[in-house]
Structure formats: C-alpha cells, structure tokens
Amino acid sequence: MEFQTQTAIWMQIAQQIATRIMSGEWAPGERIPSVRELAAEVQVNPNTVVRSVTFLQEAGIIINQRGVGYFVAEDGVAKAREMRKKAFSDEMLPVFFQTIDQLGIQWDELKSWYHQYQNNLKQ
C-alpha cells in the first residue's frame, strides 16, 4: 500500500506561513498580514485561514494582540522550524521510507545521491 497523503488546506496554509517566517519575510515582533489579506492572497474562505493562524498561535509561532493582529513570536523562527520538522517526519518520511523499501534502495546509495545534490547546489 502506498499513499500520497496530502494535508488539509488550512494546514498547508499554516505550513506556508511558517515557511515565510523561517525565511525572514516577517521578522520576530513584526505583524503578519491580516486573516482577510492572507485569505484573498490564496483565494480561500477566511475561516480556513482562521484555523491556520489559530494553529500557529497554539504552536507559539505567532502571538495574537487583540484588535491589532498577529505578530511573529520572539522565538517564532525556531518554533516554525520545529513545526515544519514535525510535519516532515509525520507526513513525508513515511512515504519516503515506504518507497525506498519498495525499491530496495540502500543507505549508501541515498548518501551518494545526497552528496550529489549538495554539489549541484554549490555550482
């Protein structure tokens, strides 16, 4: 059995906001765009984005200042990385492991591909 599991839209949006925080698009202490702006950006129902920001708030990545908006937490970048790592291990790794088992790929083989990938980046 092999699933290409994807995540719910609100979770994808949360991951995307976390990625943008990690990239420094919004610095710690800085206000992120409003729910309404974020919803229009990706053309979804604002209620969907409410779920995303609620999740990010519970994860301590952003902080709600009532009536003002959402701000990146002081340790928001580290927490965003933590969250992305968890999503990676929960969602992408099982599919990855399933595939390497199915194809009989060895660790050494993986290692050499990874080095090749890093070399390509340098060029």
Partner: protein, 277 residues
C-alpha cells in the same frame, strides 16, 4: 438567516422540482449547492430571491417572506443568474442607475472589482461579450453591500485568470454578517471558498454539512494501489493510480475533493447514512 421548512415547489401539474426541503443557512457562511442537471438548484435560488413562491412549506430570508418582495428584503439580496440581460447603456451609467436601490453599495469596491476584471466604466454593455457582462454583474454583486448574495454558476463564462479574480474578490467580501450561496457544476472553481455544502438529489436534500465536519469523517487520497476495502468508499482510475474517497479513521484531517465526493454520492447515496451521520 435563511430558514426553509417543509418547502416544496412544482410547476403546473408536474412532478415536484423541490420536494419537502428543510434546512437553515446561517450568516457568515459560504454555501455550495451541488446537484445534477435539473435537480432544482436554480429553482431553489429563485425561491430564496422571491422570483418563485413555494407551493407548500415555509421560507424565511433574513426575517422576510421573499414572496412579498418588500424593499427591506430586496435591498439586502443580490442574485447573479447564470444567464441574464443588461440594458443597453454604459457600465458607469448602470451603476448610477441601479446602485441607489442598495443603501450599502460601496463605490470603491465596484471600481476595484471592475479594474480587477479589466472593465472600463465607459464601455457599452451591449458591446461586451457574455463573459465581460458577467464580470460587470459580479462586480455589482460584490459591491452591493447586500447581506445575502446568490450566485448561479458564477464562474460560467469567465476566462481562467478571471476565476482567480472572482475568488479573490469574493474572499474579501466574506464576513460574519453576510451569507453567500453558490450553485455550481464547476466545483473546483469555488471549492476553497466554501465552508458549507448542500447536495440535492432527486429533488430532495441529500446532504447538508460543514466542510470541516465532512473532512473529519472522510478524506481523499491518490494512491498507486487500491486501499483496503473497509475504509474505501469510492475510487476512480487516474493516471497515477486511484483517486479514492476514504473513511477518515486516522482522526487527522486531510484534503477533501468535493467533486469526488459528489460522484461517490451519485452512485452510493447511502454513504451519507453510513459514514457522514
């Protein structure tokens, strides 16, 4: 905001077009109405808008009976039909003539929507294509300030980039005071705007549910092999393998392809009873 109770409608001496419908729609929601051709989707919008009257049962819209078409009702409801005629005047004149009927009309939102759609106020309506006229009417609806917006196939006739524009503009207009109702066969065009789903089948209500509740119970995956039978509700072949509708046993919410759900329910309506209730 809309309360429908035991409502039926039929044209003269025919089988009912809508048979004993009962459901409510609440402010703040974006409702998608799905159903096969001829199942009564447009008729339902007409009953909400006061263009048709129920043969039996009740309908109340924002506290009004639509059949009386009171000014207080009409100024709060805007309906964008699938096909329509517009007067032979300029776009800007259309706004000047019709906006006074809508006290909350927002001229800024109107200009912004027109600009987004690439329509100039000095264009003549009779010289525009169907898609362009649709953009004018959608712009007017989105700027009307009405608390109830009814869209029949809103993306019909729109070119591909304009569908993006429509979604963006509608997303910006959704708020807690307002209700939007969208009927469509093009589910993918509007799926991400919906938070409530209504499916009509054989002139009756088959399903009403929030997208969030649905996603708790079912999910869709694309898989190279067919998943185990006990969780599988429906599947179809796609180039990568199988596109499947599954019972959501993991407790974790996944994506939900509404088009696949609709197809599944056309073939196996009992999924509603067995899995979604």
């Amino acid at each position: 905001m809309i309360a429908i109770s035991g409502m039926s409608f039929r044209y003269k001496s025919r089988q009912p077009v809508l048979d004993n419908l009962t459901f409510n729609m609440e402010a703040g929601g974006v409702y998608g109405i799905l159903g096969a051709n001829g199942v009564g989707k447009t008729t339902l919008l007409h009953l909400i808008g006061g263009l048709l009257f129920p043969k039996s049962g009740q309908i109340s819209v924002d506290g009004h009976a639509p059949r009386y078409r009171s000014p207080a009702f009409l100024e709060q409801v805007f309906y964008v039909p699938v096909d329509f005629d517009l007067p032979s005047i300029k776009v800007g004149v259309y706004q000047k003539r019709y906006a006074p009927f809508y006290p909350k009309f927002n001229p800024e939102a109107w200009s912004n929507a027109l600009q987004t759609f690439g329509i100039q106020p000095d264009m003549r309506l009779q010289a525009l294509s169907f898609g362009q006229r649709k953009k004018v009417l959608l712009s007017f609806a989105l700027a009307s300030g009405c608390r109830i917006l009814l869209f029949d196939e809103p993306t019909d006739g729109l070119d591909i980039p304009s569908k993006d524009s429509f979604r963006r503009l509608l997303s910006a207009q959704i708020d807690e005071q307002r209700l939007a109702v969208i009927t469509t066969h093009h589910v993918h065009d509007v799926a991400m705007l919906l938070d409530q789903l209504i499916i009509l089948q054989e002139h009756r209500l088959l399903l009403q549910a929030s997208i969030a509740d649905l996603a708790e119970n079912i999910r869709t995956v694309t898989s190279t092999q067919l998943p185990p039978e006990k969780s599988l509700l429906y599947s179809e072949r796609v180039p990568g393998g199988y596109h499947c509708l599954l019972r959501n046993t993991e407790g974790q919410e996944g994506p939900l392809d509404l088009e696949l759900l609709f197809k599944a329910l056309q073939i196996s309506p009992e999924i509603v009873q067995n899995t979604l209730r």
